[in-house]
Symmetry: C2
Subunit: 452 residues, 2 copies
């Protein structure tokens, strides 16, 4: 059996700054627009739902933003996270490619989401906020924020997409273990939830709906803040610690990456890994191929439009320019709840526009087949979301086998699948299907994009 | 919030030898006896179910046994495992004690069990064995052996205690993900299973029954070996890497341990942590207090007899001298399936006889209360088994608060609870109870101890 190779950094080597890609974009990020007026928002417009330090990060054009000592001390529980060379997978594929993966499943919640949950809780705490309101799809974000809120003595209210709420009772139990209150969305607890239920009483929910409910609650409670686990600039910023570490680890390995891969739902784990590698490409220079992988059933990057749209169903959020399938689009209930979002991080959408990254999509069955293949070789059961990246890493490694090329393929294994075993059971039982590209639903949702 | 402190070893510092406590016992370990003749067994008697390298380790009196390079290469995926100082828990308890925990949940199966699963699979592979047969209670061992078997290209058959099979479908799914065949025990697939079902058709199973079934299958298949996840000398040997690492990490921390704590079911994680610290105590010298923690509902160390007994219900295994509640004792179905065993590792039982360790027991509700308290402070949800150790660590830290003593308390957090969320849900819903000490059942089982 080939040796396991793990590239480890010492705590001293853990980055002291996050990387803000906004400083390196060829053109400034398009301004978010006020949902009422359609005019560019000011920091104070965001004050109703975010504390000042978060708003400052959201709008910052500084290239490097210091990670507070308090957060570095918390990060040290699981960071620097390991970078592995998947030697056993390479052997199983009989490929000349070298496959590396950054493993974020070592975090206490089992995914990269803690990288942003703790900073968000921290900034809210020092701003005098008492409770955090959020939404969660797969539950990775909700459990991360629950832990972080508990750690800083804050209350936490989580709107969990109804289909995930039913599929994943143990994710919910994990959040409750950390004292969070978890509500299936859409719910009767908010005006927008009631409105959705009035027209669609059997709605299985979506991230767009859950965001509406969470934003509504936060906006009406002066002691509460809204927290988002992806999409926004400050979230992607916090996640760049993944790529900053990976860069150092790849240098340790003596491996210049040829291909970087991450799955994309809202974009945070993808951006976290790849943004620190994009500087030269954004200046028209060279660099690795960078591939975003999304589900065929929710293909915002490969089939969506780059346009101003709302982040939520009920049109409570600012309008942001992003790749979108239309805020009214409700994806089918496939087993990667973290990727069921109609939009894409504006910064990820923009680097796609600039040609610095490419995007592709995969079917559900290929995702699970790849996940099992990876697990057999590497002894880690990946989250269904992360398995989208696994699938394309295997695909590229197979292409290397055909061409004989020794490429360095790097992907982000953003989380483990310990709370996704029902999906694996369904897969083994032959119950999972590929979803047809929801062409009509997306066309309809896109037809009602706001005109700005 | 207090800083997280993690004590990390480099891969170069990972131990190259396991520690065999048999070499340091004041008296030699009592010989196992043949179940048919009652005479001391010879290595060849064990040949029907174990390969030669395992038998050699089981009977070895060498103090240090080299860890094969192949195993060290695999260990490197998750080892050296971290030692943490639980500063946030200390603060929550407002104790002057310093609490350290060795965290084995970082392994790919989520517990210490992989430390022995991979060596066992390796030794079987190089001995020409084609399939491994085992039992599992909580599922930690079964999933570890499933991974290890898959890694070495061996088949794996797991008899899973029926109550766990029902309580933990996702543990089963994890084993199946690695290609193992999982059967609820007692089953119709073996003669001893059929015999048990004939008299107790509704039996919820026990480790003692599942062992009988696995041993029966292995004994009748020349290409199969039996594997055990605890109790036996070679298993405890493999686990000593935990304590050998912890010793170095505590030196890094500048902390001489005052109290060492581990939970005990079969004894493997406990022995793994504490055996490397016992050398002086076994010679009549000083050393830390060492506490084994067991469930009040299955109290082999605190209420059992030190006597020769069978390891299984159907009396197929050799007789070993150990603390036992009687091989016919079936513990109630509490939520720590890994601790539902009538016996205790002979080596752990012997060091208790020598006065080098002490034992205590805790109730189920205290276990879960402590587990949640730990999770809130340290952001890790512990396995119910490991939470027995957490409970006594908290108890000792509270005593330090009363006395004002600054003791160094070290415990083994042997696994995470990601596959135990049903137990947590039941706890939150108020469905868990404390089990009365099963006095009559134990008395009855002890009354039929074999006379040797």
């Amino acid at each position: 059996m080939p040796d396991t190779i793990k590239y480890v950094l010492s705590e001293d080597q853990m980055p002291k700054f996050w990387y803000n890609i906004a400083a390196d974009l060829p053109s400034p990020p398009p301004a978010p627009l006020h949902p009422g007026t359609g005019q560019p928002i000011s920091p104070s417009d965001l004050g109703a739902i975010f504390p000042a330090p978060i708003i400052e990060q959201e709008m910052s054009m500084e290239r490097e933003i210091e990670i507070p000592t308090e957060i570095r001390n918390i990060y040290r529980q699981w960071r620097p996270s390991p970078l592995y060379r998947a030697r056993r997978l390479e052997k199983a594929l009989d490929t000349p490619a070298k496959i590396y993966y950054k493993y974020e499943g070592v975090s206490p919640a089992g995914s990269h989401k803690t990288n942003s949950a703790f900073p968000q809780a921290f900034y809210n705490k020092i701003s005098g906020i008492k409770r955090l309101v959020t939404e969660t799809g797969a539950g990775q974000w909700g459990s991360s924020l629950s832990m972080a809120a508990e750690a800083f003595g804050l209350e936490c209210l989580v709107y969990m997409v109804k289909v995930s709420f039913s599929q994943k009772p143990y994710r919910r139990a994990l959040m409750e273990t950390f004292g969070a209150k978890v509500i299936a969305s859409p719910s009767e607890t908010t005006a927008c939830g009631r409105e959705i239920l009035a027209t669609s009483p059997d709605s299985s929910g979506s991230l767009g709906m859950a965001i509406s409910e969470a934003v509504e609650v936060a906006a009406h409670d002066p002691e509460a803040s809204y927290c988002l686990g992806s999409v926004l600039n400050h979230v992607l910023l916090h996640q760049t610690i993944i790529g900053l570490e990976a860069k150092m680890q790849l240098e340790l390995a003596g491996a210049a990456p040829d291909i970087l891969i991450g799955c994309t739902g809202g974009g945070s784990n993808f951006a976290g890994l790849v943004f620190p590698f994009l500087k030269e490409k954004l200046r028209g220079g060279g660099g690795p191929r960078v591939i975003a992988v999304e589900p065929k059933a929710c293909p915002s990057l490969t089939k969506g439009l780059y346009a101003y749209d709302y982040g939520d169903v009920s049109k409570l959020t600012p309008l942001v320019k992003m790749n979108t399938l239309g805020s009214g689009f409700v994806p089918p209930g496939f087993h990667a709840g973290g990727l069921r979002y109609h939009g894409m991080a504006p910064l990820v959408s923009q680097v796609l526009q600039h040609g610095a990254i490419e995007a592709t999509s995969v079917d559900q069955l290929e995702v699970f087949q790849s996940a099992v293949q990876f697990a057999h070789a590497e002894c880690i059961v990946p989250a269904p979301e992360s398995s989208h990246a696994v699938a394309i890493a295997i695909h590229e490694a197979n292409l290397c086998k055909q061409s004989g090329e020794t490429k360095n393929i790097v992907f982000n294994l953003s989380g483990h699948g310990h709370f996704d075993m029902q999906a694996y059971m369904d897969y083994f039982a032959g119950k999972l299907v590929n979803y047809a590209y929801p062409e009509q639903e997306i066309a309809m949702a896109l037809s009602s994009l706001p005109s700005v």
